[in-house]
């Protein structure tokens, strides 16, 4: 089994939402509610979920901008220090509009203390070539580039500090289809050349399916299913995974003719449910659902595939 480069143990993150007159918080938004994850070196781990599932907060925790309220983040590299970079969703706001592109790319090096301009420019040119940007354009400003090119600049910047792990937060959601294809190909190439580990956070199931080796499905701050991408997306064991994949539009298949149902809204994360988080939207309710569900492997033969649903417990004979 490949070694882990990063481990998350029981990560909880909550934000104060309301404070009383003395400044003490009394209402919390529970963004992450017990995330356990182990990221293997060289893999692409996909994190899929909808708004409110906590994937943005997870990204913030991974890059160190958000401290967990509970739980631990452990890096297994030589220095024990995080060496992670991030590529954001919006190529427009992730680049300083008033800095020329070569400065943006080499900003990580400048922060570390290197100041020689010629060396920086040379480095920027090398990185630009790697991401498919012509070095002639390095003096330009972000608004002079297209969305796809700006995302390449962001990727070059992420590479500049030689990271172990790159968190890709919806890297292609703001891009056109043809540009998305180019960027995905670029990401594949770079991963091979630099032995990178990717954590791909997206709501786009097709991109996740295409790029990730393993996928974690998140709902209301928890991982509800985790395993090999092909397995998870094909078998859809957890009811939420099934709901999610059911809703993904398939090319050429018409919308179902059955009527629109009033599906209950996503519950807020202020007050967490006492039992299974997915209970009120689940079609498979049973009597065991009133307790908190644990993320457990489906069976001893597939320890790598875990589901947070008691219907898949070893002890219970029925699976579906």
């Amino acid at each position: 089994m490949p070694e882990a480069v990063l481990t998350l143990e029981d990560i909880h993150v909550r934000f104060p939402v309301k404070r009383n007159w003395r400044g003490q918080a009394h209402t919390w938004a529970h963004a992450l509610n017990g995330v356990d994850l182990s990221v293997r070196r060289g893999e692409t781990l996909g994190v899929v979920g909808e708004s409110g599932c906590g994937k943005t907060t997870l990204a913030q925790v991974l890059i160190g901008l958000q401290q967990p309220s509970q739980g631990q983040l452990r890096w297994h590299n030589d220095r024990g220090q995080p060496n992670v970079q991030i590529v954001f969703q919006d190529p427009q706001s992730s680049l300083d509009p008033r800095l020329p592109v070569w400065k943006i790319i080499t900003e990580p090096s400048c922060v570390k203390g290197e100041t020689q301009e010629s060396a920086m420019r040379a480095r920027a040119a090398r990185l630009a070539e790697q991401v498919g940007l012509s070095p002639d354009y390095l003096n330009r400003y972000p608004h002079e580039f297209s969305g796809g090119q700006r995302q390449r600049v962001a990727i070059a910047r992420a590479l500049a500090s030689d990271p172990d792990v790159i968190v890709l937060d919806e890297p292609t959601s703001a891009l056109d289809i043809s540009v998305q294809a180019q960027i995905i190909n670029l990401l594949f190439t770079l991963q091979r050349e630099h032995q990178l580990t990717y954590i791909l956070i997206s709501h786009n199931v097709s991109v996740i399916r295409h790029m990730s080796n393993r996928v974690a499905v998140m709902y209301l701050g928890q991982i509800v299913e985790l395993g090999d991408t092909a397995q998870v997306l094909a078998r859809q064991r957890h009811p939420y995974t099934r709901l999610l994949l059911d809703a993904v539009p398939v090319l050429g298949a018409p919308l179902p003719e059955n009527g629109v149902q009033a599906i209950p809204e996503l519950p807020g994360n202020r007050v967490l449910p006492t039992g299974c988080f997915f209970l009120d939207r689940c079609a498979f309710r049973k009597h065991g659902c009133a307790e908190r569900q644990l993320l457990k492997p489906i069976s001893t033969e597939t320890p790598m595939h875990s589901v947070r649903c008691h219907r898949y417990d070893h002890d219970e004979a029925d699976g579906k």
Partner: protein, 349 residues
């Protein structure tokens, strides 16, 4: 897979063949629009012809710079008149000339005759007004209903949107509602005066996929019930293939392919449509490189001569220095592509 059963109803076939005497609900005819800029002009639309028949669901698919959003905005005349220049062509809404209409006439048309929903429901709703009031304002502007009647109509609209508690939502502010709920309010607003055409500009791009499905089904259900035609603008091929009966594919300000949804998606003819479909992760093996279209969208202020796609096309030939018109493909009256090479392929086959 079974084609959408609506496709073969006589009304659509007749309308497509031009035998029906009702004018199309939206008739954009050979439209050329430019935006003058410093040292030149951005040629946003270059000979776009789009027709939407009554009750039809039509989609426009394209990427940035294709002109799809400009088409939508121009149909409602939402672009300030001093910003654009019409070089040729016209837009008619149920026979009424849109480009020549006065602002007063347009204000009457917008909302009652045709409505639009946008991508960002948060910015489309007034954050300082309760949602119900925004709906009743629109209703009372275009109809003669009393406040009480308008309120009842608004609440019944919300109920039709499958909103569980319409009275509560009626009194809520936009920030208290989720994105999906807000988009449903937008749809309710759009349908409040029974328009004959609804233009939806990327209505589900900002929504989660489960909500997207609900919203699309809702739109279709409502449109079928009231006989409203829908013009859906999107970059999402899967959505357009699911939802629309006919599709127009746009590139660099022109329509490059058009036809029934099943035809365009399953038998794409124009190299750009093929390229787009080929670049989708759904159509590739996981982990394999995607078939990206080489090059970039051309600068609309500096379009090359001839076919706008030629610099990126692997079928490029001498003939491509002339702009190809939309030519019907063999064996179909509706399916057409703007490509010299494809037609030759078809006729050779």
């Amino acid at each position: 897979m079974t084609p959408n059963s609506q496709l073969n109803t006589p009304r659509h076939v007749e309308a497509a063949a031009g035998r029906d005497s009702t004018p199309p609900v939206l008739d954009i005819d050979n439209l050329h629009i430019e935006f003058p800029i410093y040292q030149g002009a951005v040629r946003a639309l270059n000979g776009v012809t789009i027709r939407v028949q009554p009750g039809e669901i039509v989609g426009i698919v394209g990427e940035s710079g294709s002109g799809k959003s400009v088409t939508a905005m121009m149909s409602m005349r939402l672009i300030p008149q001093h910003n654009y220049v019409v070089r040729k062509g016209s837009i008619h809404k149920s026979g009424k000339n849109i480009l020549d209409a006065t602002e007063k006439q347009m204000r009457r048309i917008r909302g009652s005759d045709m409505a639009m929903i946008f991508q960002e429901p948060m910015t489309a709703l007034n954050p300082t007004m309760r949602v119900g009031r925004q709906i009743t304002d629109v209703i009372r502007k275009h109809t003669a209903l009393t406040p009480k009647q308008a309120r009842e109509r608004a609440i019944s609209l919300l109920r039709d949107m499958h909103i569980a508690d319409p009275e509560q939502v009626f009194d809520a502010y936009p920030f208290e509602l989720s994105g999906g709920m807000r988009q449903r309010i937008m749809i309710a607003l759009a349908f409040s005066c029974d328009p004959s055409l609804l233009i939806a500009d990327e209505p589900t791009t900002a929504l989660d996929v489960t909500v997207q499905k609900q919203v699309l089904m809702l739109l279709r259900e409502r449109a079928k019930k009231t006989g409203t035609a829908i013009l859906l603008i999107t970059h999402d091929m899967a959505v357009v293939s699911q939802f629309c009966e006919r599709i127009y594919v746009m590139y660099a300000g022109s329509v490059v392919e058009q036809g029934a949804a099943t035809d365009v998606i399953n038998r794409p003819s124009h190299p750009y449509t093929r390229g787009l479909l080929g670049a989708l992760p759904e159509n590739a093996n996981p982990g394999a490189p995607l078939l990206a279209i080489a090059g970039q969208v051309p600068n609309l202020a500096d379009l090359p001569d001839g076919c706008a796609f030629r610099n990126r096309c692997n079928l490029q030939a001498q003939a491509c220095s002339q702009i190809p018109p939309l030519m019907p493909l063999a064996g179909s009256c509706e399916h057409a592509a703007a490509c010299w090479m494809t037609v030759r392929e078809e006729s050779d086959a």
